[in-house]
Subunit: 191 residues, 2 copies
DNA sequence: TATTTTTGACCGTCCGTTCAGTCGAAAAAA
DNA sequence: TTTTTTCGACTGAACGGACGGTCAAAAATA
């Protein structure tokens, strides 16, 4: 038998993994992924570099797990995963939740935009992101088709670009960006 | 006296600087600034690393000059530098020119977005960017004020976010992004 | 020849990753 | 109860490689 029960070991591992991922998100978001060293992450988590590699097999895998976790939690938040057609109320709710997510997960989004703008790093997560964006696109195209707009696909791409732009500008200067007013304007223009 | 006339020297220097900046833009845009080595840039320009340092005193200075040059040429393109109040036609022209710029200076914009998403690098160029964006903001706020919209500042920020988002999405996938259709939609919604 | 351009080996630094070994908590043996 | 054993969490020095930047010397040019 093992000195520690498997349950004890499991608990320790889960807690450490959580700690490391939180620290990594903080460090990566603040300094950018490429400019953050593993030493800094380990230091922030209060552990040694070696231990970090006991839980994550590389820096790339670590950041990938952070992104996947964040995207999954976003999907839960906006609650669009089951429907394919949505009402105008649901559309407004979706946009609203997206705005809320940007505000309450600021660090995650800083990291997200940092990663997608770095070609070699983007390759790590591009597939995950597309798998996540595609269903949204389809729901939006469906929504605009039913509304009878001239070019539903372009309208959907425009909205997603709009949300991307808001994210970009908000994370660059959260204090001064009038995010609530901008939300109203967008809902008025795009619903 | 010098073995070359001062004019010859000047011409050579200007040509080399041009070559280096073009090569650097290409390499930086493709791989991202931090992931691009000076050796790669020199190789692409067909010169040695040492010679590059004869013309630019550091990697940071090189990228900074590329950005300043690009921003200046954009200002010329959209022709908004002299007016403070603009007509609806001028507004449409401004948006149109912005879209054209994204398409014809794809590499520049890839580099631009790559840089602003990297905190330590952004610090190099943040001031230049703000000096450039501020006049635009004021012109837009002025435009929307005259139009009598509810919240001119938020409207202006929304439009700029919209343009940022289009830039972001377009550079990520230029082949498939329906940029002309999106332009029409934006002009309709924001003019 | 006189001068400038150009080269590329070299330097110091940093960083991701590894690994031989330590330590402590709990199970097993006494 | 006390001692011994076991196993996995944990450490940090060390490694290999890459990169920004330098400089002495070579090549090129008027």
């Amino acid at each position: 038998m093992s000195p520690r029960t498997t349950n004890q070991v499991k608990k320790i591992r889960e807690e450490r993994i959580e700690e490391i991922m939180n620290s990594a998100l903080e460090v990566f978001a603040e300094n950018g992924y490429l400019s953050s060293s593993i030493s800094k992450v380990a230091q922030h988590a209060g552990i040694s570099k070696g231990l970090l590699y006991n839980y994550f097999k590389s820096k790339d895998e670590l950041v990938k797990e952070i992104i996947v976790k964040g995207l999954n939690s976003l999907i839960k938040d906006v609650k669009l995963h089951e429907n394919i057609t949505i009402s105008e109320d649901q559309f407004v709710f979706f946009v609203h939740r997206s705005f809320k997510s940007i505000q309450s997960n600021l660090k995650f989004w800083k990291l997200y935009y940092n990663l997608i703008m770095q070609p070699p790093v983007l390759a790590l997560i591009a597939d995950d992101i597309w798998q996540y964006v595609m269903p949204f696109m389809n729901i939006l195209i469906n929504y605009y088709t039913k509304k009878g707009v001239e070019n539903p696909e372009a309208e959907a791409r425009a909205l997603i670009a709009m949300l991307d732009g808001v994210g970009l500008d908000y994370i660059s200067d959260p204090k001064n960006f009038p995010i609530n007013e901008v939300e109203k304007i967008i809902i008025k223009k795009f619903k």
